[in-house]
Symmetry: C2
Subunit: 336 residues, 2 copies
DNA sequence: GTGAAAGCGCTAACAT
DNA sequence: ATGTTAGCGCTTTCAC
């Protein structure tokens, strides 16, 4: 004999009221006489009634869940964003359906569609490049979308980021000020606008300001793994590089370790600056100097923005830029 | 004018068939004449019809989503498990609702309840200790639960783990074989049965086998953060410790760095063995020797087990023990 | 302040 | 192979 699920109807019958009234007390509607409210609450307690969110979702057309598309939770960068998202979501009574996309265009589309099928009230997207197909899907559905730590040059949807150009320019300028001449720009895929447009632009800006000619050969693009960083060290050294801005913390640690393995002293003979200040930058030896992205905040603010859009509140600015800092640690010369 | 949502009814009308037939083709039911299937598919395409998963869930009492309760996604240990879970979930057409519990007993209960309200088909739980209250909630609902990388001494529900006792015993024995005499047991909360019972037991076993007396003062319990690890170094050194088994990779790195900062040579004068082999163990300098937990696999197998339970398939063993390995790296003496 | 009743969009017998 | 018909458990007008 299966345990019978208790429905709103059971509660109504036991409390001698209508379903509507039960619904009202469950939803905190004030239009209920205190005495009836009390009576209903007692029955709910006694029967151990739990509202069914699926039925509620169907009837109200709101699921109080938002979809989060992330390349890979296993990447501390995205995990930190996800954490910020989840905390704010919880605060506003939303739940998160998390979906890994593997940066795979096909899977992204598919994942987006199952999220939409599940009637999520909104979507937060993190990733590289927004393909045209993805952008088309975004605008086809009426479901609000916010990008977190992700840039779409088209700026159709809301987004939360920092000033990547300024930040990169600043750290590269720092290394130049420390006397470095041949600074490499090391990064994951340049097809990601953050890397290929913003960060690279900041890098070039710093060079221009210091009257240093841009050298294409000092731009290194590779999969951002620890091992690739280690392998890259040799190449950089051969190219006469004496400092590197690295987009991707894990890649930065790999590079740093590779440099040290080659018996080059850091930061005296070689400086490294990382880009995200995810927790691993503090695990490195020496600890990595890094741009400090407010990872958690980017996620939190993105979620907050999404709640506003879902509630159709007034939005002053849908492309939010958060402040960043620079954390000088052991891989660059101490500031005077 | 709001865009009208297309329902199964619209498709049925346009295709001159019944809703039931449309439902059949959507669900891949073979009992449909190829020609009608084709016709329906065309209409679906033309109208851009998307099945509503919420309605489907209400009608079928299956949501094809599972809840995942995790202390903190930002912890690489849990993120890796989550990744394994998600991949297998995707493979079986399930989605994941991810909820951070912060190891907070109250929040865990609450999160569990909202997951149940959303009618998830199953739950994967990761955490420390299963409180009695939580266990009660688990058994009260008919929703299947599987523990991933988490031990419940009561063994009421399915779980996936490794042999923590054996693994710990082995690595401690290794350090003893390397000539270390005063080996510390450093760990996060001992109230977590994995730490307080299994790992500590393994540690004691190794001592017994080597005829070394157990010394309570060599057991260190603390919040597993990088900084705490660094701070702990001094204490260990003062206590005359010459090796440490550390439960928690981030804590292990902190300790290692602290030891090195104190100018003690690793592994000659001090050995360290970590417990999880999450990616950060390779970022340490020197790289950390560690027990290699199959993190991804634990998540994947847990999800697979859950699918079986949800499908009411035959389960041979609900407490699964996966194999582990030991990875000898730079923080212990090389094996001969 | 409360109730009646009509859906929400779909699945699942049960017929045919 | 296809259609009919109840629901699934809730919200939401609209009356009263």
């Amino acid at each position: 004999m299966e345990k019978q699920t208790i429905t709103i109807y059971d509660v109504a019958r036991e409390a001698n009221v209508s379903m509507a009234t039960v619904s009202r007390v469950v939803n905190g509607n004030p239009n209920v006489k205190p005495s009836t409210r009390k009576k209903v609450l007692e029955v709910i307690e006694r029967l151990d009634y739990r509202p069914n969110a699926v039925a509620r979702g169907l009837a109200s057309k709101k699921t109080t869940t938002v979809g989060v598309i992330v390349p890979d939770v296993t990447n501390l960068f995205f995990a930190s964003l996800a954490r910020g998202i989840d905390d704010i979501a919880t605060m506003y009574k939303y739940n998160i359906i998390l979906a890994n996309s593997d940066q795979n265009d096909q899977k992204e589309i598919q994942v987006l569609n199952t999220l939409l099928a599940k009637q999520v009230d909104g979507i937060i997207y993190m990733g590289n490049k927004i393909t045209d197909e993805l952008r088309a899907e975004f605008s086809r559905s009426k479901t609000p979308v916010v990008l977190a730590g992700t840039i779409d040059p088209e700026q159709q949807v809301g987004s939360v980021n920092i000033d990547y150009i300024g930040a990169t320019e600043e750290v590269v300028a720092n290394m130049i000020a420390n006397g470095k001449k041949n600074i490499a720009f090391v990064s994951a895929s340049l097809s990601n606008p953050i890397n290929g447009q913003h960060r690279l632009k900041g890098y070039k800006n710093a060079l221009v300001n210091a009257n240093i000619a841009f050298n294409e050969a000092l731009v290194f693009e590779c999969e951002p793994t620890l091992q690739n960083g280690e392998l890259l060290a040799e190449q950089l050294l051969e190219a006469g590089v004496d400092a590197a801005y690295v987009a991707g913390d894990e890649l930065a640690i790999g590079l740093l370790n590779g440099i040290i393995n080659a018996d080059v002293s850091v930061p005296e003979a070689f400086e490294v600056t990382a880009s995200n200040n995810s927790r691993i930058t503090e695990m490195a030896r020496p600890k990595l100097t890094s741009i400090m992205l407010p990872l958690y905040d980017i996620g939190a603010v993105a979620m907050r923005l999404l709640t506003k859009i879902m509630n159709k509140e007034e939005i002053d600015e849908k492309s939010i830029i958060l402040p960043y800092k620079i954390v000088n640690r052991g891989t660059t010369s101490p500031k005077k």
